[in-house]
């Protein structure tokens, strides 16, 4: 157990209804109690109870905040240490002040990932759970929260364990053949049996990877670009989406580009409107469309909202846009239906092909529902529900799953090339090890290093 008490803001930096400052360590309760003015003495209350009161600035004796304080005593806590969570009003100023007071009373500012590290070091969670916790912090919407929670339950662990069991049984079978070559007790594992086993596991991993893509979107948001000629209504569209859905404006500090990303939650699908600064400030994206950089932005987008003007004929630039988004996920928006029609809708349909076309008059607030339907449909194919699936939503997991596939691929190639089964088995065993790394069964030191440096502040 650690000797000092750490503290950090454990909610995302930005505007929210509430914010939480968390303390963990032997003096967590004492520190909170020193600042707390309420009906209860926090050092005497039951564990896992919540208490209303005020935070008093010890130097000015003024009321600093109105708070709810949760007291959780170890070891039944996230870090297995005494943990206190102070819920205060959202807003950077108030939460920062609260943190300062806590630090003033003797807590130390937590290093990045330190809560999780303590949980991990105190044997509270395994690796995949630790990483799921990380994703939990990053989760931007309720749905993503669900996925993160499920992963923490060890659902992914269970799935992976099942796959490993399958492989282990296959490997064991081969081993018996090798160590007891003269015994007729065990059927000889044939290449045929081996290939059917590997194929089965292969498709399971593939399925996990497909879901991983959706998991990533849930966590990071669907990277969405709005493109169109000047004056087709991009800004109005952006504002409409943002205002309707309470955008979280997040400034990401420390990056030289000072990019502003906007998150909006559309029917459970988190949208990350990328490079919106570009859309806002420069109307010349159309002119730049030929430029590689713009193409790059488009390529990195999960979804493109291509806006056309109902009151205008299709132009060469529009055609260029269609070319530029070839092969990408696109929703075509024909905006400004409040104007007289000049656009050739048949031509638009022809250009759009299989893609959905939504007609809107954003200024009149028309067609926005349909657009939101289309976005939700694009992601969930209209029926997928995150609640039913275990998503792999962690970059390291995805990497390991891909390596597992590669390893199984090698095994299958070996079988096809007529390699002896005990050599083919080397790749099967490797797959088993790789899958083990996901749930922390074969830890490498580099993994630990990477894991802890990757953690963000707070939980």
């Amino acid at each position: 157990m650690e000797k000092d008490t750490i503290a950090a803001i454990s909610t995302p930096i930005g505007e929210g209804a509430i914010a939480i400052v968390r303390l963990s360590g032997p003096d967590a309760v004492e520190i909170a109690n020193t600042l707390f003015d309420g009906n209860d003495d926090l050092t005497k209350v039951d564990s896992h109870t919540i208490h209303y009161g005020k935070i008093i600035d010890p130097t000015t004796k003024e009321v600093a905040e109105e708070v709810m304080i949760t007291v959780m005593r170890g070891p039944r806590t996230f870090t297995r240490e005494d943990v206190v969570e102070i819920n205060c009003h959202g807003g950077l100023a108030s939460v920062n002040r609260l943190l300062e007071l806590v630090l003033f009373e003797g807590a130390r500012l937590a290093e990045p990932g330190e809560f999780t590290k303590r949980a991990f070091l105190n044997g509270r969670i395994d690796l995949s759970q630790a990483e799921a916790v990380m994703d939990l912090i990053r989760a931007k919407t309720d749905k993503a929260m669900n996925v993160a929670l499920k992963q923490m339950d060890g659902r992914l662990s269970k799935l992976i364990q099942n796959l490993r069991q399958e492989l282990l049984e296959t490997v064991a079978h081969v081993e018996v053949n090798i160590d007891y070559p003269e015994y007729d007790d065990v059927e000889e594992m044939s290449n045929q049996m081996m290939i059917s086993k590997t194929k089965q596991v292969y498709s399971e991993i593939e399925r996990l990877l497909q879901m991983a893509k959706q998991g990533k979107i849930l966590r990071e948001g669907l990277a969405t670009a709005i493109i169109g000629r000047p004056n087709v209504g991009k800004s109005s569209l952006l504002n409409a989406l943002v205002h309707e859905n309470k955008a979280i404006v997040t400034e990401i500090p420390g990056t030289t580009r000072d990019v502003i990303e906007e998150y909006v939650n559309i029917r459970g699908v988190p949208l990350r409107l990328v490079d919106t600064a570009g859309i806002r400030e420069t109307e010349d994206i159309v002119e730049k469309i030929g430029v590689d950089k713009s193409r790059q932005v488009l390529k990195e987008s999960d979804l493109i909202l291509l806006v056309l003007n109902y009151g205008d004929e299709l132009t060469k630039e529009d055609m260029h846009l269609f070319e530029a988004v070839e092969g990408l996920e696109v929703i075509v928006i024909v905006n400004k239906t409040d104007l007289n029609q000049k656009i050739d809708l048949d031509k638009v349909k022809q250009l759009a092909g299989q893609r959905s076309i939504i007609t809107t008059a954003i200024i009149e607030e028309q067609g926005i529902d349909e657009l939101e339907d289309a976005i939700s449909h694009t992601f969930f194919a209209g029926e997928l529900d995150a609640g039913d699936l275990t998503y792999v939503s962690n970059v390291r997991h995805i990497q390991l799953l891909k390596q597992s596939l590669q390893s199984l691929d090698d095994a299958m190639i070996g079988i096809e090339e007529g390699m002896p089964i005990d050599l083919v088995q080397i790749d099967v065993t490797r797959t088993w090890e790789l899958l083990g790394e996901i749930i922390g069964d074969t830890v490498q030191e580099s993994l630990i290093d990477q894991l802890f440096s990757q953690f963000c502040l707070g939980k």
Partner: protein
């Protein structure tokens, strides 16, 4: 009252498979060595099956030979049959196995040891160790002789408080009715050793004149036998076959009806037996649905009529053994020469040993072989060799030699024993080796000869021969990497006959050899090497080129392992000071005292989170040290 019987560098207690290798290696290294056996007619006696080698074990014999040990040489001179197993599989799991002529094996081994410089053989029963200031300094025999030495190796096999059990008969005994070693076992207990009771068993032997082999299937040896020792040049002619028959429902019925009389089931046996080598009553009980079990009939030598009934290990009473045997085709009229029996014995919990096989709490004392909880002649011999090497190192003030898991099966064996311990008699399996492809029987010399040479157990002559072989392999591989083969009619025909697809264009000889259907001889027909090479050079070239991809991958794995292996744990580490490590893991690590993080990670009960914490802790310590400086 004892008398001073002499001073040695190394004393080996026991002359079984571990003792012989230990004494020989020690003497070869120049240490003045004494080998004490309680019966000098039983040097390297095989109390159980008359065979040496097989999967994993066969590789151990090759490794022993590559390090200058004896087992391979002796069996090559005394086999009655030689077979290569797993020939249908890859090179890594091919395994050589010999049927031994038991009496001849003893003679041959004893003769070599008797003529070895620096080595003294003596018949004696050791009762006590001489311990001074916690360090082992010699032994005392029951005849009150005190022998002094810098290192002592105990290789007493299944003799320690041995107890033979047949049905309800039970008596104190070593294997084959030899004297049990009781006092030494008690002495070890007094010294604070943690001992555990294990059990093993052996089947009855029958007289070959009373066996009708016509009712069984013949199991002949190989026409062109391979050998264990790299020094063996000549094959033994006139191999003797083994025979295969099966139990049947009548056999099983007899066992079922008499199960209550089996010492295994009556509760008489307390020791833990090996799962991989079950008694016939175990097999029948656990696999009740199986209609028959294989029984191999193995002659025990050329000049004996005793036949070992492999597969029928039992502790049932003698009359049931007879009835059981007679229900088996070919054995209807068989006469038992020796009855099968179970034997219980004390063994040392091997986590009390360092990877050198030295006892952690008693410097100068080593244990090797079945006493360490293993089973099998090869496992014993491998440990004996390593204990002999390290005991001599200590006596001669030289560096110890620890074989790691990527260097040989012997390394795997010893690491498993001292790191994980064992809950049952330990047997090597190929699956215990994670770098199996690198630990082949064909490359044991490439892996270990250099080390043997440096240790002084490999002769100059043999080393020079080895260097030449190594250079020929490299040259030939290089040539094949550079020779282009044109798709001539002759080559296309060779490929077609091998069942491959025709070439479209010229290829490198090495690339063609990588095709599964291609063999070195085929390439040789088209593009022969300038110099004549021995078959084992060609074999190496073919294996190394053909399986290059897999070999590279295995090497990468070894690299990963080495990283953890090179993270040493400070000797003075205080595990109680590390927060967050599970109590079980803490206790295990305190006991095993792993030398590296790699070794720690292999301790059962130490989970990855514990290893991570250990890493962080050591890393912190290192950082703290640096900043203090």
């Amino acid at each position: 009252m004892t008398y001073d019987a002499g001073h040695y560098d190394v004393i080996v207690i026991g002359a079984g498979h571990a003792g012989c290798e230990a004494a020989y290696a020690s003497a070869k290294r120049g240490a003045k060595t004494l080998m004490l056996s309680l019966n000098l007619d039983m040097v390297a006696f095989m109390p159980c099956n008359p065979s040496i080698g097989g999967p994993a074990k066969g590789v151990v014999v090759r490794e022993i030979d590559a390090l200058g040990g004896l087992m391979g040489k002796v069996i090559d001179k005394t086999y009655i049959q030689m077979r290569m197993l797993n020939t249908g599989k890859g090179p890594a799991v091919r395994a050589l196995r010999a049927q031994a002529d038991k009496p001849l094996y003893i003679q041959e081994m004893k003769s070599i040891l008797e003529n070895q410089e620096n080595l003294t053989l003596r018949q004696a029963m050791v009762e006590k160790l001489i311990i001074e200031d916690g360090v082992c300094k010699g032994v005392i025999t029951e005849t009150k002789a005190a022998y002094h030495a810098k290192s002592v190796i105990i290789t007493t096999g299944t003799f320690m408080r041995g107890r033979v059990i047949i049905g309800d008969l039970s008596y104190e005994s070593g294997p084959n009715n030899q004297r049990a070693s009781v006092k030494l076992s008690e002495h070890l207990e007094e010294l604070g050793f943690e001992l555990v009771r294990f059990k093993t068993g052996t089947p009855p032997r029958v007289n070959s004149h009373t066996v009708d082999f016509s009712k069984t299937e013949i199991q002949p040896g190989d026409d062109n036998p391979r050998h264990f020792s790299y020094e063996t040049k000549e094959a033994i002619l006139n191999q003797i076959p083994c025979w295969l028959t099966y139990t049947n429902e009548f056999t099983h019925q007899i066992i079922d009806e008499n199960l209550g009389l089996s010492a295994m089931y009556s509760g008489m046996i307390k020791g833990t037996g090996p799962r991989y080598c079950p008694s016939i009553e175990d097999k029948v009980v656990r696999f009740h649905d199986k209609p028959r079990h294989q029984i191999f009939l193995e002659p025990e030598g050329r000049n004996t009529e005793e036949v070992y009934v492999q597969g029928l290990s039992t502790s049932l009473p003698e009359f049931v053994q007879r009835e059981m045997l007679r229900s088996i085709p070919g054995l209807e009229n068989s006469e038992i020469m020796r009855a099968g029996y179970a034997i219980e014995y004390d063994s040392v919990v091997p986590t009390q040993l360092w990877p050198t096989l030295e006892v952690k709490n008693i410097p100068g004392l080593y244990t090797a072989g079945q006493i360490n909880g293993t089973s099998g002649y090869e496992e014993a011999a491998g440990q004996g060799l390593m204990a002999g090497i390290n005991a001599a190192s200590r006596a001669l003030d030289k560096e110890p030699f620890i074989m790691d898991r990527s260097q040989g099966y012997i390394g795997v064996l010893i690491d498993d024993l001292v790191t994980k311990g064992t809950n049952e008699p330990y047997r090597l399996l190929t699956s215990r080796a994670e770098y199996r492809l690198l630990l082949r029987h064909d490359n044991a010399d490439l892996r270990l000869t250099e080390i043997g040479y440096k240790l002084g157990t490999i002769s100059e002559d043999r080393y020079q021969g080895f260097l030449e072989k190594q250079s020929l392999i490299e040259k030939e591989k290089h040539r094949l990497e550079n020779v282009m083969l044109k798709p001539t009619d002759q080559l296309q025909q060779i490929i077609e006959e091998a069942g491959g697809t025709a070439l479209k264009e010229a290829v490198k000889a090495a690339d063609l050899l990588k095709r599964p259907e291609m063999k070195y001889e085929m390439i040789e027909q088209i593009a022969p090497a300038e110099i004549d090479m021995a078959w084992d050079v060609k074999e190496q070239v073919e294996i190394q080129i053909k399986y290059q991809g897999y070999i590279v991958k295995s090497n990468q794995q070894v690299e990963r392992m080495r990283k953890m292996e090179n993270k040493l744990i400070p000797a003075n580490i205080d595990y109680d000071d590390i927060g967050g490590i599970a109590t079980e893991a803490k206790e295990k690590m305190k006991k095993v005292r792993p030398l590296s993080v790699g070794q720690a990670s292999r301790i059962s009960g130490v989970n990855p989170a514990d290893v991570s914490i250990l890493l962080v802790y050591i890393e912190q310590g290192r950082i703290a040290k640096v900043s203090n400086d």
